[in-house]
């Protein structure tokens, strides 16, 4: 099955219709990411343990259309949380989805919340 970019669209917190209960917090590496499946979508979820914050984005890197972003290293650049693609180290903001070191298409981002030891990702459908 071919991965399609147009499946992924940013969902802002006020657009959330479904809070999908993805997995227990313990399944996500500290200060790292993991991939969850929601319907046909692959979503990368990142656990910024140091800050106590969570981010989610499409797992698909828009550069070469590979499902790899969840395996990328996370970090920050001038306070902006980001992920670096493991294939070519393209970096994307996890707040805006913007490509920080080039002019690739922005990635879609999704709201994340944790409740009772579980991680929830927000979708509009």
């Amino acid at each position: 099955m071919i991965a399609h970019l147009n499946v992924y669209e940013t969902v802002s917190p006020n657009e959330v219709k479904v809070w999908f209960k993805a997995a227990p917090i313990s399944k996500f590496p500290k200060n790292g990411g993991a991939c969850i499946k929601y319907k046909d979508k692959q979503i990368a979820v990142f656990n910024f343990t140091r800050e106590g914050s969570w981010y989610a984005c499409q797992n698909l890197c828009p550069h070469k259309m590979e499902m790899v972003l969840s395996r990328g290293m996370i970090g920050e650049e001038h306070m902006e949380p980001k992920v670096a693609c493991p294939l070519h180290k393209n970096t994307f903001s996890l707040k805006t989805g913007e490509n920080l070191n080039g002019s690739l298409d922005a990635i879609a981002t999704y709201p994340v919340k944790t409740e009772n030891g579980f991680v929830y990702v927000g979708f509009s459908e």
């Binding site: 790292g32 969850i36 692959q42 910024f48 259309m65 290293m73 920050e76 650049e77 670096a84 970096t91």
Partner: protein, 838 residues
């Protein structure tokens, strides 16, 4: 259109052309230059280099084409004979007449030949032009044909005379230097320093005869000796006269320009002669009743004349001209600056003399001990530039002024501070009048990084070259200030270089990345500092990539190489490239079972491609059962040690390269480093293992192993350099152990050994000193660190497979057992490959 005629194409005449060329473009000036020699201006200061290579081209100030390209007409081999200052014309030896608006006399000087009886004899030369040198060389050849032990004397023990002494020595003649004064270099040196210099030169085989007045030159037609009177003679076959210079002022006499009593054309501080349209510069000009026989004041005069002619009338010659010099005379440093010596009522001296080492240093200090008045250095003039600058800039002396010449006795550091302490206006290169500010600006603002580039941009070091050490220092220090903020800092989260971070982690015993960020960093880290720190943890504690997996580089995190479609490749270690048929079959079976594409790698092992994340632990479980270990093909760590088949099978082999390769690969396996590193072992100099293309390599030779370090293939191929020759295996390993640990400790992130070694100050010699001679006293520390790494090796894949929490990471989704259904393969020559990227 105005015409400027320059008479004389020596160093100063050329400098005038160079300085004016850029400033007259399109301004309606024509420059016409006459040179009487058969070639364009050349570097007379380094004339003795001609003996080494006989390459006149190499001495050229600029090639002939340069003049034409810059709109300057150069007429060589043509002597100017008359000036008609009322008509404003000159005539040449060929009776051609040329009109000028401005005339610049840069006719220089001629060697002074004292009126000694017999100087006209064959075999007597002067030392000034390339033609003089060629004639000397030919004559020396003749002497050598005639007799085995020919002798040559130089008359004059000044700067040039000693240079000439070296020149005749290089010609294979026994050298003698004859000086009228009681000491060598009477203008620059005091009696004691002259004595030290004399001892050093004599130990090199140059005979020195001071206090000798030559009465006559002996011989019938050709020279056979010199007569000093009172039955004192010296037998010689050749004589080079270097007894000072006389300004070439004969042209001035043709038009009644004002001359000095002992010659030289009188000029004012605008370099104007007594005729306002005629200028004189260089050794022909008499300024403040002095002739300046050095290149730097000549260049300054050229600058003044250019400005005056172009109506920048405020540029005039300084009243006091600095006559400081530093040079290497026959390999001996000799320098003098300011007032080299003086009576005690003018100042006090601090003198250091060490005849066992041929060193003499003297500085002259004002009575209040606050100002440096001048000094002399023989044998060691390393600190000349900085002392000279202290003198020129009137910088305050330290409390213990003696430390300036004997070195600081307190803890570390020199008494001078750094070259960076000089004011920006300090003239670093006096030949080209380049300031410290200009040198630093070329680095700080224009982004230059090498002495070569800075020399090209600023012209610093291109004259006598004496300022090179200081320019080098300034460049280095300026780069450092840049590097502190731009280069050496790992990233925004750590304000340290990798080496500093390495030391900090070791010192504080920090083992967790988070802890390190809290202690010495800022923020939350990034993809640059995380793997760099992970590598340091690995180097210090041999921690595998499994414990702090989220700070590992992409490949290390899953202990495999991510490939184009997000699948991974698997490479077990095959030490030295030696593998049994049984192991080959095991790899074949496993690869077939998981449908992996297989290929032999450049490092003599087998790569299996196309494994999905969840398959990795399964594949490794089977490989480990078959006795394989991780090959760490994913790590910035030891990759492989390539070997040829060696003396066990090869009929040329000198030693067992395979056994050695296996031993060394097993020794270094698992060691992480700033970048990947590879080794090679060849059993003979045919070098089939390409060991010199590796970070470290051993080549068997008669009597042991040659050890090479710092090579690589890749984008910038580099041959490794010889670290040690013909050493036994244990010694070879020891040296490479230390080399690797030293590299690990000091390299920058992702810097391979070749660029590291290139940047290492002092290069391979320095490295040899560190790892062989223990110049830093760290050999034991390096040895212990390496042994600790070797002793604590574990196969990180075995650890991963056997630890359930680690194994759990190998799933594509954390909320589903599904695999990634976007991965697609297509067929390729009976195997498979990822579907092309769109």
């Amino acid at each position: 259109m105005k015409t400027i005629i320059v008479v004389g194409n020596g160093m100063v005449g050329y400098k005038f052309c160079e300085k004016i060329a850029d400033r007259i473009k399109g301004k309606g000036f024509k420059v016409l230059v006459f040179g009487e020699e058969p070639r364009a201006a050349y570097d007379r200061v380094h004339l003795s280099a001609f003996f080494g290579n006989r390459d006149a081209k190499a001495l050229e100030m600029a090639p002939m084409e340069w003049y034409a390209q810059n709109g300057i007409e150069l007429i060589i081999n043509e002597r100017v004979t008359d000036i008609h200052k009322t008509k404003k014309t000159i005539t040449t030896a060929n009776d051609k007449e040329f009109a000028y608006d401005y005339l610049v006399l840069a006719t220089g000087s001629a060697p002074f030949v004292p009126p000694i009886k017999g100087v006209e004899k064959k075999g007597v030369f002067v030392y000034r032009t390339i033609e003089d040198l060629e004639a000397m060389l030919d004559y020396a050849e003749e002497i050598k044909q005639r007799k085995p032990n020919g002798k040559a004397a130089v008359l004059g023990g000044g700067l040039l005379g000693l240079e000439a002494g070296k020149a005749v020595m290089d010609m294979g003649l026994e050298p003698h230097v004859v000086e009228f004064a009681p000491k060598l270099m009477p203008r620059q040196l005091d009696a004691r320093s002259s004595n030290v210099l004399q001892l050093t030169l004599e130990s090199m085989g140059i005979s020195i005869h001071t206090g000798k007045a030559t009465n006559s030159i002996l011989g019938n037609g050709a020279i056979t000796g010199m007569d000093f009177g009172e039955d004192d003679t010296l037998e010689v076959d050749m004589l080079v006269i270097s007894a000072g210079i006389r300004p070439r002022d004969e042209l001035a006499k043709t038009c009644n320009l004002e001359l000095g009593i002992r010659g030289g054309i009188v000029v004012n501080d605008k370099m104007q002669t007594s005729d306002p349209y005629i200028y004189a510069i260089g050794e022909v000009a008499l300024y403040n009743q002095m002739i300046y026989g050095l290149v730097a004041p000549g260049y300054e005069m050229a600058e003044v004349a250019v400005n005056q002619i172009l109506r920048a009338s405020d540029v005039v010659m300084k009243q006091e001209i600095d006559m400081s010099t530093k040079l290497k005379l026959i390999g001996v440093d000799v320098a003098s600056f300011g007032i080299p010596y003086m009576p005690a009522d003018k100042g006090l001296s601090i003198i250091y003399e060490n005849k066992t080492k041929g060193i003499y240093k003297r500085i002259n200090v004002s009575h209040d001990g606050k100002t440096l008045l001048g000094g002399i250095m023989v044998g060691d003039a390393e600190d000349y530039s900085i002392l000279h600058q202290m003198y020129l800039n009137n910088m305050p002396l330290p409390d213990n002024a003696e430390e300036l010449i004997v070195g600081s006795r307190g803890e570390g550091g020199s008494a001078f501070g750094s070259a960076m302490d000089l004011p920006d206006t300090a003239v670093i290169c006096s030949c080209e009048a380049v300031t410290k500010g200009a040198v630093c600006k070329s680095v700080l603002e224009d982004g230059l990084e090498s002495v070569k580039d800075v020399a090209k941009a600023t012209k610093a070091t291109t004259g006598c070259g004496g300022c090179k050490p200081m320019v080098t220092d300034l460049i280095k220090e300026s780069l450092k200030t840049l590097g502190k903020t731009v280069k050496e800092r790992i990233c925004e989260h750590f304000n340290y270089s990798r080496q500093e971070l390495y030391d900090l982690i070791k010192l504080k015993g920090i083992t967790d990345y988070d802890h390190l960020l809290d202690e010495v960093g800022n923020g939350n880290g990034c993809e640059v500092c995380k793997p760099a720190v992970a590598s340091i943890f690995a180097s210090l504690y041999n921690e595998t990539a499994n414990r702090q997996e989220s700070i590992q580089d992409s490949n290390d995190r899953f202990l495999a190489n991510i490939q184009r479609n997000g699948t991974y490749s698997v490479v077990p270690r095959v030490a030295g490239g030696e593998i049994t048929p049984k192991q080959l079959m095991a790899i074949g079976r496993i690869a077939q079972k998981y449908d992996l594409y297989t290929k032999i790698t450049g490092g003599q092992r087998i790569d299996m491609f196309g494994a999905q994340l969840h398959e990795l632990p399964l594949i490794w479980e089977e490989l480990i059962k078959e006795g394989f270990e991780t090959g760490q093909a994913y790590g910035k760590s030891l990759r492989t040690v390539k070997s040829c088949v060696g003396s066990t099978w090869c009929r040329y082999g000198m030693d067992e390269s395979v056994s050695f390769a296996i031993e060394i690969e097993n020794r270094y396996k698992g060691i992480r480093s700033p970048h990947k590193f590879k080794g090679g072992v060849s059993g003979c100099i045919r070098e089939c293992a390409e060991a010199r293309g590796k970070d470290f390599g051993f080549i068997a030779v008669e009597g042991g192993w040659n050890v090479y370090v710092g090579g690589n293939g890749g984008a910038n191929p580099k041959h490794a350099l010889l670290l040690a020759e013909k050493v036994d295996k244990e010694t070879a390993i020891k040296y490479v152990d230390r080399f690797i640990m030293f590299y690990i400790k000091t390299a920058q992130p992702l810097q391979r050994t070749a660029p590291w070694l290139e940047k290492l100050e002092g290069g391979i010699t320095y490295l040899q000193n560190v790892v062989i001679n223990d110049s830093l006293g760290i050999v034991k520390e390096l040895d212990d660190a390496m042994q600790a790494l070797v002793d604590s090796y574990v196969c990180e894949w075995k650890e991963a497979v056997e630890t359930p929490e680690i194994r759990e990471r190998y799933t594509h989704f954390v909320n589903s057992d599904d695999t990634d259904n976007t991965i697609e393969f297509v067929a390729l020559r009976d195997q498979k490959m990822p579907k092309e990227w769109v």
